[in-house]
């Protein structure tokens, strides 16, 4: 090793570097957006059409991921969120078709979404098992029941639906943006300006220490799952607003996509103190943008598979880079 004189960076330059790291996901989102515009224009496709698709997919993913941040902050994850979205939407459709009432449909969607989420956390609490284990079981159960409902009532159509005109008035970008902002604002408030969010971050960072600081894991896990359920409810409703039909593939990949989106947004998969709500918003749209860019670039039958592989490599790279930043700052214990 060569001998060199080392000077410590000033606190201000250190903060600048940390700020830059914090802003990187936002920068990546901008780059991905520019890349999409470039790819679409190179291919000669209509940009407005792609932006509409990305917006509608992105809003649902970002909202469900925003609610899920509360679970991920605890260092846990919920793989059943996609199945829960599908199940809520399916029961919402059935409710509307049985009663013709939109408010009742919305009520059922939210009740089912929050109920499914709560059930996962309560089961984990009662049986003293990690919560992600119960979510794996929930995913299987909810997918199976939803599939049964859809195939039973959908028949040859392969899906169940409500009349398009029922939700068509709500299928407007500004309404979705308002819903997204309102839900994100609620989550930011709870996360950053109340004892709930602070304690959840601490629990995720060190549950043993949190318990010895008087923080009840079960209580905060239940709150986290209620928030995630709320996100699932909104996501399920917006899915129906966008396409008023539900089939067995609806929202099926949301559970996994959330994991990738949150990491893309700059939040560690282990949760804790570095958890951020904006990671879900930025990461959700980044993931959808990346996916669409890859699908555009790699056309043909292999396109989906290759784009998934590239997304996975990208995911690993982001996890590695964020890990380096943390490890190099840690003094020996």
């Amino acid at each position: 090793m060569a001998k060199t004189k080392i000077a410590a960076p000033s606190a201000a330059s250190y903060r600048r570097r940390q700020m830059l790291i914090t802003l990187l996901p936002l920068l990546a989102l901008g780059v991905l957006f520019a890349a999409l515009c470039a790819v679409v224009s190179t291919k000669g496709y209509r940009l407005d059409m792609y932006l509409e698709i990305i917006f509608n997919e992105g809003v649902v993913l970002a909202i469900v991921a925003t609610g899920a941040i509360f679970i991920y902050t605890l260092g846990s994850f919920d793989i059943s969120l996609g199945a829960s979205t599908l199940f809520s939407a399916a029961l919402g459709v059935q409710t509307y078709n049985a009663t013709g009432s939109l408010p009742l449909m919305i009520l059922v969607i939210f009740a089912v979404a929050i109920g499914c989420s709560l059930l996962s956390s309560v089961l984990a609490s009662v049986f003293h098992i990690p919560v992600f284990v119960t979510t794996v079981a929930m995913m299987s159960v909810l997918s199976a029941i939803a599939a049964q409902i859809i195939t039973t009532y959908g028949g040859a159509l392969g899906g169940i639906s409500i009349p398009g005109e029922v939700v068509k008035p709500l299928d407007k970008p500004w309404i979705k943006i308002v819903i997204l902002i309102a839900f994100a604002a609620l989550c930011v408030f709870i996360f950053n300006f109340t004892k709930i969010g602070r304690r959840q971050k601490f629990l995720g960072g060190n549950p043993v220490c949190a318990q010895l600081t008087g923080i009840d894991l079960n209580k905060y896990a239940i709150i986290a799952f209620v928030m995630a359920g709320l996100g699932v409810g909104i996501g399920a409703f917006l899915t129906l607003v966008y396409t008023p039909s539900v089939n067995t593939g609806t929202a099926s990949s949301i559970g996994m996509n959330i994991i990738v989106a949150i990491v893309f947004g700059g939040m560690p998969i282990s949760g804790g103190a570095r958890s951020r709500i904006y990671a879900a918003l930025v990461g959700g749209f980044s993931y959808i943008l990346l996916n669409n860019i890859l699908m555009l670039l790699i056309e043909g039958n292999a396109g989906y598979g290759i784009s998934q592989i590239i997304s996975a490599v990208f995911f690993l790279a982001v996890v590695y880079v964020t890990g380096i930043n943390y490890r190099t700052q840690t003094l020996p214990r």
Partner: protein, 498 residues
């Protein structure tokens, strides 16, 4: 003099804004026990971690056994004869004791594609005997052991490889006197075999007794090396902190004092073999010490008093309220500083602000719910200022702090919320002499303010120096109570410990 076993020249290392090492030279010779001392954050653990492959230097040169040395990790270092026992947790909780001992070297028990578990357990038993753990089943999971036994297993893991150099990084703070004697014996064996030891500790007395040479680091710089003939405690202390210690170290009074009124009462606490019918009363403005060997039940007692463990029989009360959980304890004004600081008292990945603020939200939250950043910052800054936490700012991650400053953060967490009763389990474990003095002075100040302190400790001098009363525990029972005064001396106390 013989060729050095380890030679490090001009080692530089920094972490974020902290310069941990600034061109430090260190040489260790065969048959030498070299002590390394310095305040928290002086760079002791960093330089030994670099030599052991746990960290990479930013600049500098290293040779080990006469050859250039740059181990990729601790496993590779150990394979080449460089064994290190780290300050905090160095074992894997999810696997067995035997698997921990032979971690990275399990191939020696290969039987085709399988591991000869019987042979591995037999070999583990032999190694455990060397560290005095002959009664421990090596098939047990590591998580079943307490902090002292985990540390002994780590020592066993290193000595099983017969290393040429054996680095002991503040390990003795986790050990009882018996454990310490064991490790001193292993060091002497190492020296007798013409091998080396690098011994890092804050306990100057044990360094003076054990070492041949002593190197002092301060703020990442090498200050001075002392040979055995030059050993002078005052000169070493002054080198360490760069000034002479001002004011009293322990309490200056020699009689017990307290205010009227009971702060906490425990009646007939029983929990397995760890606690057997333990009763105690803690008065306002009183410091009560709990002393004994590590396994005597005193650490469990601390947890039970805080409501973190439920006794099978008996109860703890404060102002007539039964303490049935941590949240209740906190509501009644109890704070708890755990022995296992990095696991039980701090969230290492969080900032200083997060760690201090989390326990005191009731103090600054509006309507006990709404958190405003400016109020939280003011609350945290006050604790940082009052306790003189050496940091780059409240946003700095706690994992970047030295042991002493981490402990100050833990104190800030509990003092800031205005705890009237503090249960301190080994409060000065792994902290340097300057921080220790600051903590003793803080405890004295809190006592004078009418706060009550229950200090659990394995260090007899601090128990004698600080307590109004001392309860000695053995096998889960209180065997003797001493009042502050001429009778509270170590020769008398130890009779009731062993």
């Amino acid at each position: 003099m013989a060729q050095p076993i380890l030679e490090m020249k001009g080692i530089h290392k920094r972490f974020a804004t902290t310069v941990a090492l600034n061109g430090v030279d260190l040489t260790v010779y065969p048959g030498e026990i070299r002590g390394l001392i310095g305040e928290n954050g002086s760079g002791k653990s960093t330089i030994s971690s670099i030599a052991a492959g746990m960290l990479k230097a930013d600049a500098g040169e290293m040779t080990f056994l006469g050859k250039p040395w740059a181990p990729a990790n601790m496993v590779e270092a150990l394979e080449h004869g460089f064994g290190m026992i780290v300050q905090e947790q160095g074992t894997v909780p999810g696997i067995s004791i035997a698997e921990n001992i032979f971690l990275g070297d399990i191939d020696q028990f290969s039987k085709g594609p399988f591991v000869d578990r019987k042979a591995m357990l037999a070999a583990a038993r032999k190694v455990l005997e060397r560290v005095g753990m002959d009664k421990v089943d090596p098939a047990l999971p590591m998580a079943a052991l307490d902090i002292q036994d985990r540390k002994l297993v780590e020592i066993a893991k290193v000595i099983a490889r017969e290393p040429d150099i054996f680095v002991v990084d503040e390990t003795t703070t986790a050990l009882s006197q018996i454990g310490r004697e064991k490790i001193y014996e292993l060091m002497r064996e190492q020296k007798a075999a013409d091998k080396s030891v690098l011994f890092i500790s804050h306990d100057l007395d044990e360094l003076l007794q054990t070492c041949d040479t002593l190197t002092v680091l301060r703020d990442g710089n090498l200050i001075r090396s002392f040979t055995k003939e030059e050993f002078d405690p005052d000169a070493i202390r002054t080198s360490m902190i760069g000034r002479e210690l001002q004011g009293d170290y322990y309490r200056s009074d020699s009689t017990p004092t307290r205010q009227d009124g009971i702060a906490l009462a425990a009646e007939h606490l029983t929990l397995g073999e760890e606690l057997q019918d333990v009763s105690l009363t803690l008065y306002k403005g009183e410091i009560v010490g709990i002393g004994g060997l590590s396994q005597c039940g005193m650490h469990t007692l601390g947890k039970v008093l805080f409501g973190a463990q439920k006794p099978q029989q008996g109860r703890v009360t404060v102002n007539g309220t039964a303490i049935i959980g941590e949240a209740v304890a906190m509501k009644q004004g109890i704070g708890y500083v755990a022995k296992d600081r990095d696991v039980e008292s701090l969230c290492l990945s969080a900032s200083i602000q997060d760690n201090i603020a989390v326990a005191g939200m009731e103090r600054y939250a509006i309507r006990d719910f709404l958190i405003l950043e400016n109020r939280e910052r003011a609350y945290v800054d006050k604790q940082i200022g009052d306790l003189s936490v050496k940091c780059a700012g409240r946003d700095q991650q706690v994992s970047q702090l030295s042991g002493g400053n981490k402990q100050k953060v833990v104190f800030g967490k509990w003092i800031g919320r205005g705890s009237d009763i503090l249960i301190l389990d080994c409060p000065t474990r792994g902290v340097d002499i300057g921080v220790k003095q600051a903590m003793y002075q803080l405890m004295t100040r809190l006592k004078n303010e009418g706060k009550s302190i229950l200090m659990i400790s394995e260090e007899m001098p601090e128990l004698i120096g600080m307590c109004d009363r001392l309860l000695v525990m053995k096998d889960g029972r209180v065997t003797k109570e001493f009042a502050r005064g001429p009778e509270m001396v170590d020769t008398e106390i130890i009779k009731y410990m062993i």
